[in-house]
Amino acid sequence: MKRQIPLILCFLFGVVMLLTQFSPHSLSQGIYEEVLNWARIITPFALVFSTITLLQTHITRIRRQTEHWQYSFLVFGGIAIMVVVGIPFGPQNPVFEWLFNNVQLPMDATMFSLLAFFIASAAYRAFRARNLEASLLLITAVIVMLGNVPVGDLIWNKLISLTPWADTYANGSSLMKQWILDNPNLSARRGIILGVSLGVISQSIRIILGIERSYLGGGD
């Protein structure tokens, strides 16, 4: 009962969503869209429940006074202010927007921009020509990095002007970058995409048919 019904539900919904995609009839399309809507309705409940578990975690932290427990109040404060301002007045109200634009957004953008530092440190550490494969990674990365900024072509054109082919091979840096992106890069990506697709199909079949059921947990 604890396992059979979920397995049946999974099978039913899986097959229905699969077949309705082949059927333009208004009934099948209606079912298809209604089920998609259900997912939208279910999510807010899960979010509220998860928030309760989050609050429980922080209450326990405060009670036990584990390390840095004081910061848990900030989590409460953050949730409270957004919910109090946002739920009754909607996300378009000016206070909510101000909080979003001046508090949440700068942190979001700054967190994102940390990547510039990390990408530099990862490149410094990992781009070592240890073997053939690592060298290929390193060389293409450098070519594409150069081809992406004007200074790449600038350097290329300076160098090529010393040879007799200056006119035929101008802007080689960005052209080379483009060729790499269009060809070897694209074929590698195609290989990955095709493989992933087969993996997805196979996993989906296993799950719909109940061969793979570990997501259900144990018990009967």
Binding site: S23, A39, L54, L115, L137, V196, G199, I201, G218
Partner: protein
């Protein structure tokens, strides 16, 4: 100029003028639109009827109007006037289940109009099967069939060969190291929702990892980004601990919801990494830009990192910053690989048959295209 010639000139002009007046006062003979047909629009939900006709060239027609019969049996214009080069109209404002007949009216430069014959009455019905998707359906049967066939064939076979996947061989090593050091293991499921294929794959791997951490009595921490994933994962990990006979070692607090926002999640997990210093970090699932923020921070604390994703644009970062990375399809093979169940391993063989099929299609398709036959590309044509 002589007198005679002048007379001749005047007469000629007069004749020309009269002829011109006569000729241009005549309406050009506009023929009515021909071959007018009305059919139930194929492959739709039964909400439209398509009217087609032949456009005439150089006939002075500037546009068309479509007329539909009313209850009283008269014909009324519907919609806007259509351009002269249009030869098809999809009437979407029909009454379902009712029969409709149409007339196509050609409009000339002088605002005059010529009506076509009226079409037969048509009723729009919805189709149960999209005939344009037949090739998709066939392909689905073939691919699914090869996977199911392989699963069936290997269900009793204990010796299904699977090649080594280094990232997965390292799972035990990573857990062992964490146990030796007395530190925790951090498992990140990525940003995908519960119905995302990569998340499902990641959850099944987590189930296997949890079995081992239950055995080793190592702390397993799972910060979640999706509220529904949180619930599924709690159930799964609890079941893994139960299966290994260690329900006491399971702690619900270690599997918790952090936030559903991408970068706040990254900020929170980064903070955890620096403060708790886990010995092993798993990054499995769907990742976006935060992949490198997580992987570099994990690297800076010296944790052994095993990543896996099908987000091909994040693979380069995981490969440079992590110790092992499951590339694309390897992520989907992982749960079969770790569980060692014959049926699951059989499905990997099915995937390989799928690859063979794609190879054959490409090689055969290239050959046919080179000799000018393009039915394979037509077969693969996108469906509307």
């Amino acid at each position: 100029m002589t007198y005679n010639k002048t007379i001749l000139y005047i007469v000629a002009c007069t004749i020309l003028f009269l002829y011109g007046t006569f000729a241009f006062s005549q309406e050009p003979e506009t023929s009515p639109p021909s071959n007018v047909t009305a059919v139930d629009t194929p492959n739709d939900d039964g909400s439209s009827i398509t009217v087609t006709w032949d456009t005439a060239e150089d006939s002075g027609i500037v546009g068309y109007k479509i007329l539909r019969n009313t209850d009283a049996g008269e014909f009324e214009e519907i919609g806007e006037q259509l351009d002269a080069d249009v030869s098809e109209y999809k009437d979407k404002e029909i009454i379902k289940g009712k029969e409709h007949a149409y007339i196509v009216r050609a409009i000339t430069e002088t605002e005059a109009s010529v009506d076509s014959l009226q079409t037969g009455a048509v009723r729009a019905t919805g189709q149960w099967f999209h005939s344009g998707k037949i090739q998709l359906f066939i392909a689905m049967i073939i691919f699914c069939g090869s996977i199911l066939g392989s699963i069936y064939l290997s269900r009793n076979n204990q010796e299904v060969f699977v090649r080594r996947i280094p990232g997965l061989e390292a799972v035990d090593e990573a857990i062992g190291r964490a146990t030796e050091m007395g530190r925790s293991i951090l498992y990140v499921l990525g940003l995908g929702g519960v119905s995302g294929p990569a998340t499902i794959a990641s959850m099944t791997i987590l189930g296997q990892v949890a079995r081992r951490t239950a055995d080793y009595e190592t702390t397993l921490r799972v910060p979640c980004n999706d509220p529904i994933v949180l619930n599924v994962v709690r159930e799964m990990v609890k079941a893994s601990y139960l299966d290994e006979g260690r329900p006491d070692a399971y702690s619900e607090e270690d599997i918790f919801f952090l936030t559903d926002s991408q970068f706040a999640y990254a900020a929170g997990v980064d903070g955890m990494m620096l403060r708790e210093k886990p010995a092993a970090i798993f990054l499995q699932g769907t990742f976006y830009a935060e992949s490198l923020i997580l992987a570099e921070t994990g690297n800076s604390i010296g944790a052994i990192q095993i990543a896996g994703t099908d987000s091909e644009h994040q693979l380069p970062f995981l490969i440079t910053a992590c110790d092992y990375t499951l590339i694309g399809e390897e992520l989907y093979a992982a749960s079969a690989y770790l569980s060692k169940e014959p049926m699951q391993l059989g499905s990997l063989r099915g995937q390989d048959w799928g690859k063979v099929l794609i190879f054959l299609t490409i090689v055969f398709g290239v050959f046919l295209e080179l000799i000018g036959v393009n039915w394979i590309t037509t077969f693969l044509q996108r469906v509307s």
